[in-house]
């Protein structure tokens, strides 16, 4: 019953937000903004810029809210808008160029030790170039397929794969560095 009520509540708030009810819009914002700022922060290193992008993405959320069909989760829908906004921001601002390189390596895997905090992980991701970062985020965290990523970024599927492997390799190196640093300090 609670779930249904929550669902009904969400539907109602969405309906009100579509009618430009500021209170409903604020409710949606307060509910999702911290998570969405986290998502934007994954792609954009500068927190202020990430917040700007989040705000513009929320503008899009509210302007296209009437098109939201209540299929799938509302959060997922907002998240997609956020990610698209982040990608377009990075592409426009930083003019990321993907190297058309289709060589990718077998991945060596190293478990991230659970002592790594979110900030550590964010630090690792931040250290990646924007192209690698985008593809890694899209593939590893959002769970998009290479084909989808290729379409989103306007690149070849092979490029997406190779970029991901490069990103993974770089990430691994960073993890090892962190580990060594940690070990060194211990």
């Amino acid at each position: 019953m609670k779930v249904i009520n929550l669902h009904q509540d969400e539907k109602n708030t969405i309906r009100l937000a579509v009618e430009n009810n500021r209170h409903a819009q604020h409710q949606i914002y307060t509910k999702f903004s911290p998570k969405m700022l986290g998502v934007c922060r994954q792609y954009i290193k500068d927190l202020q810029q990430a917040e700007d992008v989040m705000i513009t993405a929320f503008m899009k959320v509210f302007s296209s809210l009437k098109n939201f069909e209540h299929k799938g989760s509302f959060e997922g829908w907002i998240r997609r808008i956020m990610i698209n906004e982040c990608i377009s921001f990075i592409r426009v601002q930083k003019q990321v160029k993907f190297i058309e390189d289709e060589t990718f390596f077998e991945e060596r895997h190293n478990d991230i030790e659970s002592k790594f905090s979110v900030d550590d992980i964010q630090f690792l991701i931040d250290s990646l170039p924007d192209g690698y970062k985008m593809i890694f985020n899209l593939y590893a965290i959002e769970g998009y397929k290479h084909q989808e990523i290729a379409e989103m970024l306007g690149i070849n599927e092979g490029t997406s794969k190779s970029q991901l492997s490069h990103a993974r390799k770089m990430l691994q190196n960073q993890i090892n560095k962190l580990k060594n640093y940690d070990n060194g300090t211990e």
Binding site: N20, R22, Q25, H26, Y29, T30, S33, P34, K35, L37, G38, R41, Q42, L47, A50, E51, M54, I55, F58, M59, F62, S63, E107, H109, N110, D111, I112, S114, F116, S117, V118, I121, Q122, I125, Y139, A140, I141, R168, L171
Partner: protein, 225 residues
Amino acid sequence: MEPNNIDKQIKEKLNQREIQPSANAWDRLDAMLSVEEQKPKRSYKWLSIAAVFVGFTLIGIFMMNKENSTENVILSNPIVLENETKLIENESTPKIENNLSEAKEVEAVVHQLTKKIEKPSTEINPKKDFLLDNHSKNEELIVESQPKESTAKYINAESLLAEIETGEKIEIPNISKKPSVKVDANALLSSAEKEVDETFRDKVIQSINKKYNSVKSTLANRNYE
């Protein structure tokens, strides 16, 4: 499952992460939303209303222009035709009159010639009959009388010509003035009718405008109320 392990861990940790946006973030969004709210609503409404109104007025103007143009054509054509016919009449009548005057001149010349012919005949006779003083006197009288007649005729011809000429001069302006006055009257009437129609249309348009504005204002106010 191993390859996804790092991803999984990163994903889990990142998905759990929440970053509280700055306090003024909502205010900014709120401002943007209110700006966006006012913009599209008003612009779309006003644009649509304005577009419809402009469209109607344009159609109306076109229709009125068409009506006016047809009226003008209908009115202007007869005027032109009348003028033309009058001009033709003016042109033709003097020609005829000129011809007539020429003919009269010719007649006068003929008369003169006949009189001249008559003169020598009379003159020859006295040469033949020198003794006949009466004849000569008569002839002289005749000669005297004939030139008088001829001069009178000449005067008459000239006066006629002059009269014709003057008559033409007088007639032409008379003829030309009369139709011009008539044309002016028609034009004035038509223009007056047009003016009356235009003022009526303006009044109608103005009243429609006022009603539209009142409806617009009520609609706009309703949203705010």
